[in-house]
């Protein structure tokens, strides 16, 4: 079966202050449609570069990236993205922040005026599913960090992207809020069935959410291990306290410690 996201032997070099820097070396990832993939690794391993490559913001130096059988040559226009920073537009109400992608991406863009009421209803509904019913008319500064990150998730999903790219989206949150948002993301994913590539440092996060975990080494970043996570879906937070879960996290931990050393 052909992979939905097919990253094949991708290398990215760029010119740094002291010669060429290899950010990514011969990386190969195959992500099936609807799969939840996590990429973990020490900092500076080119995880974020991978995000920019998949969304078409960067061209690989070598290798190819294809989504849904089509090679990525420019901005993919069909991915949702969320980052560690919620990146809200402070002059817009929450609902208008969520609606932003619809003002950009076709076919919504040309219908934005005529179907505005419908889009707003959709955004309100999406906000409700992340526990923010009735918050649409607030401004971002009235929301806590965790709430802003929920809004950011809604914004990345409003245009029903087939692919969601997450770059450490929960890294800046406290432990309790983070676990809460794991469940929010889990439920959204299970309901909507999009494909996810989640870049994270947090091994528990990766093991709890993902079907498959790719472990990357530090510069030049390449994939050193692929680990399938066998736990049944839907997963409860309880699973994170089981021994098998601990074993997986421990195994990943050892692998990363090993690649950091070398």
């Amino acid at each position: 079966m052909e992979a939905f996201v097919d990253i094949d032997g991708v290398t990215l070099k760029y010119r740094g202050a002291s010669g060429d820097i290899v950010a990514l070396q011969d990386a190969t990832l195959k992500v099936q449609r609807g799969e939840f993939v996590a990429v973990v690794g020490p900092s500076g391993c080119g995880k974020s570069t991978l995000m920019r490559l998949v969304t078409g913001l960067h061209k690989p130096t070598a290798g190819t990236i294809a989504i849904d059988g089509k090679e990525v040559k420019g901005p993919v226009k069909m991915a949702g993205m969320a980052f560690q920073n919620a990146n809200m537009l402070p002059w817009r109400k929450v609902i208008d922040n969520v609606l932003l992608p619809l003002e950009i991406v076709e076919p919504y863009r040309s219908q934005f005026r005529s179907r505005k009421a419908e889009f707003r209803a959709k955004a309100e509904q999406l906000l409700a599913t992340v526990g923010l019913a009735g918050f649409g008319d607030r401004y971002p500064w009235e929301l806590s960090g965790g709430m802003q990150q929920r809004v950011s998730l809604c914004r990345s999903l409003i245009h029903e992207p087939a692919l969601l790219m997450l770059d450490e989206p929960f890294a800046a949150l406290d432990a309790f809020t983070r676990e809460e948002l794991w469940c929010v993301l889990r439920d959204l994913w299970q309901r909507l069935g999009f494909t996810v590539i989640l870049v994270t440092h947090d091994l528990r996060e990766a093991a709890f959410l993902a079907d498959k975990i790719y472990v990357m080494s530090a510069r030049p970043g390449h994939i050193v291990q692929i680990k399938s996570v066998p736990f049944a879906r839907p997963r409860d937070l309880q699973v994170t306290y089981e021994k098998d879960f601990g074993d997986i996290v421990m195994e990943l931990r050892m692998k990363i410690a090993q690649v950091r050393q070398s």
């Binding site: 226009k77 990146n87 537009l89 402070p90 002059w91 932003l100 950009i104 991406v105 076709e106 500064w141």
Partner: protein
């Protein structure tokens, strides 16, 4: 008195206190009036010749506002152009800084030569002195767009114009309104410099004329009126800023808290 009313009254209290100290200092130290006039003499002159002062104040005000309006228009256009492309930014910056370093007082004689004595050199001077902060602030606002936000939009297929309209320009608005407060006071400086060197009307002209005749009370009256106009216009633009960019003040407050 509760702290809020005190905060509201404090600009008035301070202003009145400064005038009182000034007045008292003149009396207590028996300052020669050719060295320093007491404020009472300046106010008395203002009332005695109110028609003259009103006329010249009006000329300075409209001349400044015309020059300032030109600066805003030109500043917005140039700011957007400079903020649009890094190449233009890098290319124009040294030129603009060089130009801004030249004291405008040095250009006024040229302007008088070109446009003759009158309002035009004053308008041009006000314009030249006040557009720079507007350009720099708009360009800065545009240049500091969060790269991640740009990524989000670009990955969705947004063009440069989309990013500018949806993010860059709204983001630059607080910078723009902030710069207006600086620019308006500079515009007054420009007008008065030019009026002092070559004009038939305006507070600058009046200051030069009355100063040459040693009617110092009139000079002080003109200076006070000039200061008043500056404060007034500053307050107007501070109000406009508050109105249009409330979100910037609030979000900063929440970021701090």
């Amino acid at each position: 008195m509760n702290p809020r009313t005190l905060e509201k009254l404090s600009p008035w209290i301070f202003t009145i206190a400064i005038f009182l100290i000034w007045e008292l200092a003149c009396i207590v130290f028996k300052v020669n009036t050719s060295v320093l006039q007491p404020p009472s003499a300046a106010f008395a002159a203002m009332f005695k010749l109110w028609k003259v002062f009103l006329y010249h104040s009006w000329v300075t005000l409209w001349v400044t506002m015309v020059g300032f309006a030109l600066a805003v228009g030109f500043g917005i256009i140039l700011g957007l152009v400079v903020g649009w492309s890094r190449a233009i930014y890098r290319g124009l910056y040294p030129v603009m800084i060089g130009f801004n370093t030249i004291p405008k007082v040095a250009i006024v004689p040229l302007l008088i030569l070109w446009f003759g004595i009158g309002e035009v050199p004053a308008i041009v001077t006000a314009f030249l002195i006040s557009f720079f902060p507007i350009v720099v602030n708009i360009a800065t606002g545009l240049a500091t767009t969060e790269p991640e936000l740009e990524d989000v939009l670009r990955a969705l297929g947004a063009g440069k114009l989309d990013i500018m309209l949806k993010v860059g320009i709204p983001r630059a608005l607080p910078y723009f309104f902030g710069s207006l407060k600086i620019a308006i006071t500079l515009a007054f400086v420009g007008t008065v410099v030019s009026e002092t060197l070559g004009a038939n009307a305006g507070l600058g002209y009046l200051i030069a004329l009355e100063g040459a005749s040693f009617r110092m009370a009139n000079v002080y009256a003109a200076l006070l009126l000039l200061a008043f106009e500056g404060v007034l216009m500053y307050a107007v633009f501070a109000g406009i800023e508050q109105h249009f960019t409330k979100w910037a003040f609030r979000s900063q407050m929440s970021a701090a808290g």
